[in-house]
């Protein structure tokens, strides 16, 4: 098997595992479908925005939960944003943590919120690493002169 085919197979296997393990859901496929010749970097652009936005949100959440008098409405507002953007790009595990997180906000449960924040950070780092690895594989395929397989 030549280099391009090997890389392509790696790409397909890696992508499939991300869906199987629940890191990504169908919404990520929707993003890929929107990418075309007029916008060849669409997925990377949106995901990069997501990374930047997420880091801000996670910092805001950390600060908000360190306050003397916690404003749970504000915390919930940040989580709502995070849930929205993770859902929009198909980052399923991050989104799922946000759902639980919002329930703890409703209950004004500090321990629950602190736990969820940690989980959100962990899941964010995981998906960031995995998507970066995926984009890296795409680059390698393109640089080797191949095309990136379409995942239906």
């Amino acid at each position: 098997m030549d280099a391009v085919s090997q890389l392509q197979r790696q790409f397909v296997e890696y992508t499939t595992s991300l869906y199987r393990e629940g890191y990504l859901d169908d919404q990520f496929t929707q993003l890929q479908k929107l990418q075309d010749e007029s916008n060849p970097d669409f997925v990377v652009e949106v995901v990069t925005l997501f990374f930047e936005d997420s880091e801000k949100l996670l910092n805001n959440l950390t600060t908000a939960l360190q306050q003397e008098n916690i404003d749970y409405k504000q915390v919930d507002a940040h989580v709502h944003q995070f849930k929205g953007s993770s859902s929009s790009i198909g980052a399923q595990r991050v989104k799922n943590v946000c759902v639980v997180f919002r329930n703890y906000c409703d209950e004004k449960n500090l321990d629950g919120c602190v736990l969820c924040l940690q989980q959100a950070k962990n899941e964010y780092i995981l998906i960031r690493n995995k998507l970066e690895a995926l984009f890296n594989l795409e680059q390698q395929i393109l640089q080797a002169g191949g095309s990136v397989p379409m995942m239906a």
């Binding site: 993003l31 929107l34 949106v46 997501f50 944003q81 849930k83 929205g84 929009s88 790009i89």
Partner: protein, 146 residues
């Protein structure tokens, strides 16, 4: 489909979430729409030429050039519902179809929006198939509905 520049529908998309704005913009552009985005209700109203306290009699906004407005429901400050209300109260803009988007499937919310005159309520995250429905709606606006 052959489209002259003037025939391309112009959609105003309102959402406070940056990623969602980018997504809805791309979805609409992929369906041959011209898109203007706004990050909140106030900016949307400014763009449309409406202001909170009164409506201008010599209309100088972009409202007449917008074929559809799609807005998120949950936004800080003015909600999508409040924006919808202002649009439907405007003599100039009330005929413009307004679509409400929300990540939450709450029947009372949906009914409230439809009763206020929203054309449709869509669940986020939006997909290509959702936008195809919207596009269909745009071409039906003048003709028979449902």
């Amino acid at each position: 489909m052959e489209c002259y520049q003037e025939d391309v529908p112009h959609v105003l998309a309102v959402d406070d979430n940056l990623i969602d704005r980018k997504l809805v913009e791309k979805l609409l552009k992929s369906s041959s729409c011209r898109v203007t985005t706004a990050e909140n209700g106030m900016r949307a109203l400014e763009y449309l030429g409406l202001r909170e306290t009164h409506q201008q009699s010599n209309f100088s906004g972009n409202g007449s050039k917008v074929n559809m407005i799609i807005t998120d429901y949950c936004m800080p400050g003015m909600s999508g519902y409040e924006l919808l209300q202002k649009i439907k109260e405007s003599s100039i803009l009330k005929e413009v179809p307004v679509i409400i988007m929300s990540s939450e499937n709450i029947p009372t919310r949906i009914n409230e929006c439809l009763e206020m005159g929203a054309e449709m309520f869509m669940l986020k995250p939006l997909k290509l198939s959702d936008v195809k429905k919207l596009r269909h709606q745009l071409t039906n606006v003048e003709g028979d509905k449902r």
